[in-house]
Every structure is written in structure tokens, then in C-alpha cells.
């Protein structure tokens, strides 16, 4: 039977302590309990990639995790990609410049996926980016502007990785 389970996690740099229902997926927890509605729910069974977030630095599908499984983790959602509230990060700026979204439904999942990729692999080439994007379904753009935007934003991630000496 479902029950409330106390969990502690860090979301976009902020520590949160809350009770999560045992049957609740992590994406529902983020949206309904933490009111972070930037993460979208598409297929709700791990096929579309719209709900992608970062858990301990790795891109994962938040519809395929239970909220209690996130206990003790550090999470980044699309709301955490900008340097400050209301400001855009390098990927978001490049997406705007290249018109890399139309309806925008898939965009939070693609931004978080690309953020994880470029943070881990700042030298990812177009083939690698295409390979990774195969896990995110976009029905508007045809992907080309998305690819162009990610390639442009890659420079910022490379500078960052050179500055910190770590990918």
C-alpha cells in the first residue's frame, strides 16, 4: 500500500525535505510537490525524453524513477540551467538564436540532455550529439536547428571545462 516517505534532496542547488508518496514518480513530485513545472510529462513510460533531468550529474528520465529513489540525490531541472532566475544559460540562448523549438514541449528534456552531454563530453561531435538526441522525440523542428544550437553552445562548455580543468 502506498505510504508517505520522508526524503531529502537538493534541487537546483536548494536543499528540500519533504514527504513523497511511495507510488509517485519523480517527475510528478517535481511538478506537483515542488511546483517546478518546467519538466514536462510526455509519454509517461520512458519513450519520449520530455521529462529528462539530471540526477547526480547524469541525464535520466524522471518518469522512470520513483520520488523516494531520489532521496539523497542532487537534481538539476531545466529551471536550474540559467545562471540566475530569469537569465538564460548558453544552451537556452543558442536555442533562441537558432529557433531550435517550435511548440516547445520537448525542449526542457532536450536542454537537460544536452547540458548533461556537454558537461561530460565538451568535445562531443555532431554524430555523438545526434546519437544522444535519439532519446528525445521532437515532432516540430526536424532536429537540425537543435543540432546547430547545441554545436554553438558547445563552445561555452569547452571554455568552462578548460577553465575548471575538468569535463
Amino acid at each position: 500500500m502506498s505510504e508517505k516517505i520522508d526524503i531529502t534532496l537538493t534541487v537546483n542547488g536548494e536543499r528540500r525535505e519533504l514527504a513523497a508518496d511511495s507510488r509517485m514518480t519523480l517527475v510528478d513530485f517535481l511538478r506537483d510537490e515542488l511546483k517546478l513545472t518546467g519538466t514536462h510529462i510526455g509519454c509517461e513510460h520512458g519513450v519520449c525524453g520530455a521529462c529528462t533531468i539530471l540526477v547526480n550529474g547524469e541525464a535520466v528520465r524522471s518518469c522512470l524513477m520513483l520520488a523516494p529513489q531520489a532521496d539523497g540525490t542532487s537534481i538539476v531541472t531545466v529551471e536550474g540551467l540559467g545562471p540566475a532566475a530569469g537569465e538564460l544559460g548558453p544552451l537556452q540562448r543558442a536555442f533562441r538564436k537558432h529557433h531550435a523549438l517550435q511548440c516547445g514541449f520537448c525542449t526542457p528534456g532536450i536542454l537537460t540532455t544536452a547540458h548533461a552531454l556537454l558537461t561530460q563530453e565538451p568535445d562531443a561531435d555532431a554524430d555523438r550529439i545526434r546519437d544522444v538526441l535519439s532519446g528525445n522525440i521532437c515532432r516540430c523542428t526536424g532536429y537540425l536547428p537543435i543540432l546547430q544550437a547545441i554545436l554553438e553552445a558547445r563552445d561555452s562548455y569547452r571554455e568552462r571545462s578548460h577553465a575548471t580543468g575538468s569535463p
Binding site: 500500500m1 516517505i5 507510488r23 509517461e44 525524453g49 541525464a59 535520466v60 522512470l64 520513483l66 552531454l117
Partner: protein
């Protein structure tokens, strides 16, 4: 869909996890990465009373390369395998096949133990376990038992794992450095389930004849299988274009396929033959595209 009504518990040891499974008498289900189980729950194909989260059990995500072969802890993820430099030489077939598993986000969470317990007939990992004669280490209330691949995988999404047992490790037999191998897969989109695949390997004797060839295929509805007729044909032969062409024809004939929503049975048979042909050619270093000499 939202998940069915269920509880959640996170034991700290394998023993504790088994005790919980025993106490719930078939109503509890283990969850690790959840990449197969969560969709099953979302579709309400399963409705356990409680999920037992084993994803943080210590020591179960080890990759050990030993003289006896490669040992994968059940919690090893696809990403762990992808990032492990030593596996590319210690078991190149495993490393190559795992590159085909699912998408980026799923690869970060999905585990080898979970994939094997789920046992989808189109999945790469159960096919590798079958092709390589791997052994499955299983823990239950009576202790540990080691199950041969052929006794573990019984059919589509069916294994000999008891409801109160847990996979803890998968052991692949030693892989000689000189072994020849190939893995080929066809899916409509990158990261999707295979429509057909072939995993092949063999050793060569002093005169260049194939010794103990293994030919495993994905494409039958029930499970990945080894094509023993093709293996018997290949054993003791030298590998050339003609041998590969015959293996392709034999493999396509031997595979038992049926019409389904993805493809007619005949097309899938042809595809299986082509995968065998390409995998054998890759193993032998033969370029199929080049004009026959």
C-alpha cells in the same frame, strides 16, 4: 498512466532484501534501475504490493576481469560498461553489443541484472548471456545458486528466478585474446529494440579452421537462441565468402519467426540471415561490399 498503489522499501543488504521478498510471499518486486519495470507499472501490466529498491546495495555494481572471465555485478549499468576501458579487450563482444542498448538517459539507469530478470526477447543482454554460456548467480532464502544460461532463460519475459530470489552477478567465461567475433543489429531507429541481431564468435585452430563457433540470434518471438545447426556446419571449416553465404541461408531457414505488427515472418528471417552474414564477415575481416575475388 500513474502507477498502481504500491509501497516502497530500501533494504541495506541482499539478505534484508531476500527477507522482504519472502515475507511478502510473491507480492513484492525488486526494483533497481527501473527502466523496464517502471513502464510495466505505468501500463498496469504489474501491480506488486511493494517495491524493494536494491539500487543502492553495496558491492553489486562491480566489473571484475579475472582469469576465469568477466564478472558483472547485477547493478552494473550500461553506462558503467560503456565507460570501462578494460572490457573492450577483456570481452569485446560484450562491449560492442551493449553499445546498442537503448538511449542515453536509459543507459544511465538500466542495469544488467534488471535486463536479465525482465528478459525481453529483443534485448541484447539476455542474448549475450545465451550466446556466451554465461552463468547467473542467484541469491535466495536458501543461499546462493549458480544457474547456467540455458537453465535461466525459459522464454519471453520468463526466467527460472523464483519470486524470493535475486540476481547478484553474471559471469562470462574467459575470452581468449585471439578469438574472432562480430555483433550486428538492425533496428528502425537508433536505440530502439532490435528487429534482428546476431552475436557470433569462434576460435581458429593452427590450420585456420573454426573451433567451437557460437551463433546467437535475436529475432524469434520467444527468446534469443543459439543456432546449433549453423554452429555444427561452421565447426572445422575455414571461413570464406561461400561459407558465410551458406551460414546466412541456413540461419534464415533455421530461425522460427512469425508475423507480427513490426514485420512479416519472411522479412524477419531474411534479416536474421543478413545479420549472421555481416557478423561473420566482421569476425573474419571480410569486406562484403568489395567485389568477390
Amino acid at each position: 498512466m500513474k502507477l498502481p498503489d504500491l509501497g516502497y522499501i530500501r533494504p541495506k543488504t541482499v539478505k534484508e532484501a531476500i527477507d522482504i521478498l519472502v515475507a511478502h510471499d510473491g507480492e513484492a518486486k525488486l526494483i533497481a534501475g527501473g527502466q523496464s519495470l517502471m513502464p510495466m507499472l505505468a501500463f498496469r501490466l504489474l501491480a506488486p504490493r511493494i517495491l524493494v529498491d536494491v539500487s543502492r546495495l553495496p558491492g553489486l555494481n562491480r566489473i571484475d576481469i579475472t582469469p576465469d572471465g568477466v564478472r558483472l555485478g547485477a547493478l552494473t549499468t550500461w553506462r558503467d560498461i560503456e565507460r570501462h576501458a578494460g572490457l573492450k579487450t577483456a570481452h569485446p563482444l560484450l562491449a560492442a553489443a551493449i553499445a546498442h542498448v537503448a538511449h542515453y538517459q536509459i543507459r544511465n539507469r538500466g542495469t544488467v541484472g534488471g535486463s536479465l530478470a525482465h528478459c525481453d526477447p529483443a534485448s541484447e543482454f539476455p542474448a549475450l548471456v545465451t550466446t556466451c554460456d554465461a552463468a547467473v548467480v542467484v541469491c535466495g532464502p536458501g543461499g546462493e545458486r549458480i544457474v547456467k544460461a540455458a537453465d535461466f532463460i525459459l522464454g519471453a519475459m520468463t526466467t527460472s528466478l523464483e519470486p524470493d530470489e535475486m540476481i547478484t552477478e553474471i559471469r562470462f567465461p574467459a575470452w581468449p585474446a585471439s578469438r574472432r567475433w562480430g555483433f550486428e543489429e538492425f533496428s528502425r531507429r537508433r536505440g530502439d529494440f532490435a528487429m534482428a541481431a546476431a552475436a557470433v564468435f569462434y576460435d581458429l585452430d593452427a590450420s585456420g579452421r573454426m573451433v567451437d563457433p557460437h551463433i546467437g540470434i535475436i529475432g524469434e518471438a520467444d527468446r534469443a537462441i543459439r543456432l546449433t545447426a549453423v554452429e555444427e556446419f561452421l565447426a572445422g571449416r575455414t571461413i570464406d565468402r561461400q561459407t558465410i553465404a551458406t551460414a546466412r541461408t541456413m540461419g534464415a531457414q533455421a530461425a522460427e519467426t512469425s508475423d507480427d505488427i513490426h514485420t512479416p515472418a519472411q522479412y524477419r528471417k531474411a534479416l536474421i540471415g543478413t545479420m549472421i552474414e555481416r557478423a561473420l564477415a566482421a569476425a573474419a575481416g571480410i569486406n562484403l561490399a568489395a567485389a568477390a575475388a
